[in-house]
């Protein structure tokens, strides 16, 4: 098992050996590989301190001068402490000039279980998704995170990469470039399709294993924004229903809203059911699964709920 950030940083370090147009900024957030980067590229790796607003402003200044910039911090602080800098500096400027800034947020969802609601990141998809020009990637394993590096070096515009805080097993030995381009991969076929990102993809696979074979198909939505894939349209068109599963607040513009928009735009009329958090923060302490249970998203709860849901849809 490998942490997503390690997958990403190892590849980025490799690319930095060959190019001098990269700056890596951190808001005092580290990793062993970052220590190596600071040693090997002391002029290109800057710790701005615990100062997320300045992190984004400095990133914009560098990007306007033509550098490819990475801004690295704990996900809730990276996306919410400096939201206005992201909006004005990155999204708005991206409409006028090249702004190649990649936000690397670590700690998606409830990655930092016992750190409590300040460190849970449940709103980021919704608030960054609402910004024009902002591309969002949500890898589900280290291998996929590593593959995103070249995309962030080449594709223009600001991007947010939402990474898990804890190591997860790689879901496939090799991710196809087509999956990255399409922004999704089908991990398991089934009559009903669950769309999820990151950690919740792993959970969806476990749920699928417990339902009758062929019932629940699992789609790893690697790029929640924008969702623009004819291949995905084709898959969904053949499904009996669509389900979203997220560590995010329902009805707030997060994954459920993004998928609903995709279905509408594609003219697909499959029933959509959504699983996520109700309007309530979690002060509970315990494992990821315990927190999910507190939020009604425990594995047993979801297996029972989906089984009932799918039976109802078939009746």
């Amino acid at each position: 098992m490998k942490a997503m950030r390690d997958g990403f940083l190892a590849t980025l370090l490799d690319r930095m050996q060959q190019r001098d147009d990269v700056f890596f900024l951190t808001a005092d957030f580290g990793s062993p590989l970052l220590d190596r980067m600071r040693q090997e590229h002391p002029g290109r790796c800057i710790n701005v301190g615990i100062a997320e607003q300045n992190l984004i402003n400095v990133a914009l200044g560098l990007a306007l001068e033509g550098f490819k910039v990475y801004a690295y911090a704990i996900a809730p602080f990276l996306t919410m402490r400096c939201y206005e800098q992201i909006r004005v500096g990155l999204a708005l400027h991206a409409q006028l000039r090249p702004v190649q800034v990649t936000l690397l947020g670590v700690g998606a969802g409830m990655s930092y279980e016992v750190s409590g609601p300040t460190h849970h990141c449940l709103e980021d998809l919704a608030i960054l998704g609402v910004l024009p020009h902002m591309e969002i990637h949500a890898p589900s394993d280290a291998a996929t995170a590593a593959l995103l590096v070249d995309h962030t070096l080449e594709a223009p515009g600001p991007k947010y990469i939402r990474m898990e805080g804890k190591p997860l097993p790689d879901l496939q030995a090799k991710v196809s470039p087509a999956a990255l381009e399409e922004g999704f991969r089908l991990l398991r076929p089934g009559r009903h399709l669950v769309l999820a990102t990151g950690y919740m993809v792993h959970k969806a696979l476990r749920i699928a294993d417990r339902l009758s074979p062929g019932t629940l198909g699992v789609i790893d939505l690697l790029r929640p924004k924008p969702i623009r894939s004819r291949a995905l349209q084709g898959l969904v068109a053949q499904a009996s229903s669509v389900v979203t599963l997220e560590e995010g607040f329902l009805g707030s513009g997060g994954l459920d809203g993004m998928v609903a928009h995709f279905l509408r735009e594609a003219g697909l009329h499959q029933p959509l059911n959504t699983f996520g958090l109700r309007d309530r923060y979690l002060f509970d302490l315990g494992s990821r699964e315990y927190l999910h249970q507190c939020a009604g998203l425990g594995e047993d709860d979801l297996v029972a709920a989906m089984d009932k849901l799918f039976r109802g849809l078939c009746a």
Partner: protein, 274 residues
């Protein structure tokens, strides 16, 4: 190109002040009071041989970068940019009108504006990022950022101030248009920002102050700061008066949001034309 020093800077300030009033006459939504306090600063930068720039090529790589972080209070830059060839002077006749790119809060769509500045407190950090980039590339270009003193209330300014000192960004100069006022009151009545120089010095900056309405003094101060490359970022605190040149605005704590009557503006425009 760098301005020709032979320009009569005092006369240019009168002209820019008049044209700024004319813009406000057409577009009362523009912030006149906080723009008039910055006239001498902007004239010194663009006509006093401080900024390397090319109006016909706004993104010329060899330019010095200028960020008008107090965007709302930089309407005086419109006539300067038009005069310097960034866009046709006829654009000044349709500020804030349909089809114009010159709005009440200037955006990066305006040739000559490096960034979008409607929200305060961003410029110093963005300028610091540019300064890091220019150093990394070995460029001799410098970065100038204009802020208002009321803007110093933004915490992001001080994040950038700490950062710039730590990175020894001696190619970065902050110019504070210290016109003593925010929107609803004088700064001293909100949260006193003095002693301003001592505050910057405590953060490791090279700080000097000047009478912000003495254009030659501003020019000399900026020349001095431009030549200082000793590992410290620099700040010029320009002591100014909000609404400078409009008697009904000067000294009024609410001048930021106060409308000037068209009769008074017309009379002043005539006066400044003579």
């Amino acid at each position: 190109m760098t301005a020709v020093p032979a320009i009569d800077l005092v006369a240019k300030c009168r002209e820019v002040r008049r044209r700024t009033m004319e813009v406000n006459r057409i577009a009362p939504e523009t912030r006149l009071s906080s723009s008039l306090s910055a006239v001498e600063i902007l004239v010194a930068l663009f006509y006093g041989g401080i900024l390397a720039h090319k109006g016909a090529e706004p993104l010329w790589p060899g330019r010095d970068r200028f960020i008008a972080s107090k965007g709302h209070g930089s309407i005086a830059l419109f006539p300067i940019l038009a005069d310097r060839g960034y866009f046709p002077p006829s654009e000044l006749d349709r500020v804030c009108q349909e089809g114009s790119f010159l709005g009440g809060i200037p955006d990066g769509i305006i040739p000559g504006y490096e960034t979008t500045n409607g929200s305060l407190g961003h410029g110093p950090g963005v300028g610091a990022g540019m300064a890091v980039a220019l150093k990394a590339r070995g460029s001799e270009s410098q970065v100038f950022v204009l802020v208002g003193d009321g803007e110093l209330y933004e915490g992001s300014v001080w994040e950038a101030v700490m950062f710039a000192a730590a990175r020894r960004l001696d190619n970065l100069t902050l110019v504070v248009d210290a016109n003593q006022g925010a929107m609803l009151d004088f700064c001293r009545n909100i949260i006193d920002l003095e002693p301003m120089l001592a505050r910057f010095e405590a953060f490791g900056w090279h700080a000097i102050e000047v009478d912000g309405h003495d254009v030659h003094a501003v020019q000399q101060a900026l020349q001095h700061l431009s030549s200082q490359r000793q590992g410290r970022p620099k700040v010029l605190v320009a002591r100014t008066i909000k609404g400078k040149g409009v008697p009904s605005l000067e000294g009024d704590p609410l001048s930021h949001i106060k409308a000037v009557s068209s009769d008074e503006l017309d009379a002043l425009i005539r006066e400044y034309s003579s």
